[in-house]
């Protein structure tokens, strides 16, 4: 039988990610574009991530950080999330909980996502699929810059301007 579900639309993809966040016990891993990170804030991801960390969970995430989203990232850091910055073009976007549940989508070159952007994502509970996603994540993580360092750079740039 199929071990995954095709998800169409940003809103449904966020609903699945929220469900993954709510059911995770130990670990969350995410690699998302900044516009999706912004949209997730409308659905209490920040508050739920904080509760998850307070209960002993660990969250690691990669998102491109710019002047436009520095405050959002600071809120994640304040929550205790480990965030890194990367400007690289990532092949996959993902949200993975406890190395099992995941939602992922292939990067098709969309600059900015809204709730109405047509996207296709894959929701899976297969641990092998999660392992595959995590291999991609770890590669991106090893090349990404700690958010604190990136924020410092942005503050210096803003100071010079």
């Amino acid at each position: 039988m199929a071990s995954g579900v095709v998800i169409n639309g940003v809103r449904d993809a966020l609903a699945v990610a929220l469900q993954i966040l709510e059911s995770a016990q130990e670990e969350l891993v995410w690699l998302i574009p900044p516009s999706i990170n912004s949209l997730s804030r409308n659905y209490d991801f920040v508050e739920k991530a904080r509760a998850f960390i307070q209960q002993g969970g660990a969250s690691r995430g990669i998102v491109p950080i710019s002047q436009a989203n520095v405050g959002e990232v600071q809120m994640s850091l304040k929550n205790g999330e480990d965030v890194r910055h990367s400007d690289e073009v990532h092949e996959l976007f993902m949200y993975v909980g406890d190395r099992q549940q995941s939602i992922s989508a292939i990067n098709i070159g969309i600059d900015e996502y809204t709730l109405d952007t047509p996207v296709t994502a894959f929701w899976s509970e297969d641990p092998t699929y999660a392992e595959y996603l995590l291999a991609s994540f770890e590669n991106a993580w090893s090349q990404a810059v700690p958010a604190e360092k990136r924020i410092q750079e942005l503050e210096q740039e803003a100071g010079q301007a």
Binding site: A2, V16, L18, M75, I108
Partner: protein, 296 residues
């Protein structure tokens, strides 16, 4: 909520609001994105504006600020004028926050409904009786990938499509995949190949695919690598940085016969296909440019 409703201040000039950053942070707590919060704050502080000067003040481009304004209008925090050029005015803070809060609550309710519906859908799909047994298998090397691809092409019935970078096009040419593909096309099969990028040195391998009858297009952007066989089985790859043409190259790939995964890849493929151009156009462009200086 990140920020309790009773704690917010009624004005950015209020003495409890130390600076712009605090104000923006509080707006984020009301479900605004950072761009929306900055835009709203600017309109509130400096008064009504048209998109162009607003974009200049916010150090962004006009289309971006227009999208943000549309979203703020939708959230009831900004009002457009009816005359032309359209002036955008921030709604008074108390009213705006009340509207934002209601909108946020309604979005959360809608999200809860969607979550329940999706959970029910997933449950239904997982327990659907089926003879199909799905396999997910991780492969760690090029040799294993080619050994999996070859038998699939031999037994293909309808179609095969892939999105690959230039180095993969070269590899399949060198390791005997193209004759199998040609034989499949001659049997009446359809083959579509989307090349993410290729340079002058990739012309020959790309042309070879065109010559055997595959429909080849050029995307010009990086994306995930994958191939789908008869819309059933698939192979996906990540970080295929093939530095040399050798079967011993390590790479991470996923093989699966999950039909839902194949459907997901198929839909994604069609989106990418629409963004691409015929490979002949790219070849022509490269031929006109000539070989790169270092190759001469």
């Amino acid at each position: 909520m990140y920020f309790q409703r009773e704690n917010y201040v009624a004005s950015p000039h209020h003495n409890r609001m130390t600076d712009q950053d605090d104000f923006i942070t509080h707006l984020l707590g009301f479900g605004l994105t950072e761009k929306e919060a900055h835009c709203y704050f600017h309109l509130l502080k400096y008064g009504p504006k048209t998109p162009s000067p607003l974009a200049k003040s916010l150090h962004t481009y006009r289309e971006d600020v227009f999208r943000t304004l549309t979203s703020l209008i939708d959230k009831g925090m900004v009002r457009p004028s009816l005359d032309s050029p359209t002036l955008y005015t921030a709604v008074e803070l108390d009213t705006a926050l009340e509207v934002a809060l209601k909108k946020h609550e309604s979005e959360l309710r809608e999200m809860e409904t969607r979550k329940r519906e999706l959970q029910a859908l997933a449950q239904q799909q997982r327990f659907r009786p089926s003879d199909e047994v799905t396999t997910f298998k991780i492969m760690k090397g090029l040799k294993e990938v080619l050994a999996t691809v070859a038998p699939h092409i031999l037994t293909l019935e309808e179609d095969f499509f892939a999105v690959v970078p230039e180095n993969t096009v070269v590899v399949v040419s060198l390791f005997g995949i193209n004759p199998l593909t040609k034989e499949f096309i001659e049997r009446g099969g359809a083959v579509r190949i989307l090349v993410t990028d290729f340079s002058y040195s990739g012309i020959q391998a790309t042309q070879e695919l065109i010559d055997i009858g595959a429909e080849v297009r050029y995307l010009g952007e990086e994306t995930a690598i994958f191939a789908v066989f008869d819309k059933k089985a698939s192979i996906s790859g990540i970080h295929w940085e093939l530095s040399s043409v050798s079967l011993d190259q390590p790479l991470t790939s996923l093989y699966t016969d999950d039909p839902a995964y194949a459907q997901y890849l198929t839909t994604t493929y069609e989106m990418l296909w629409k963004q691409s151009v015929p490979a002949e156009e790219r070849i022509q462009e490269l031929l006109e440019q000539g070989p790169p200086q270092a190759d001469r």
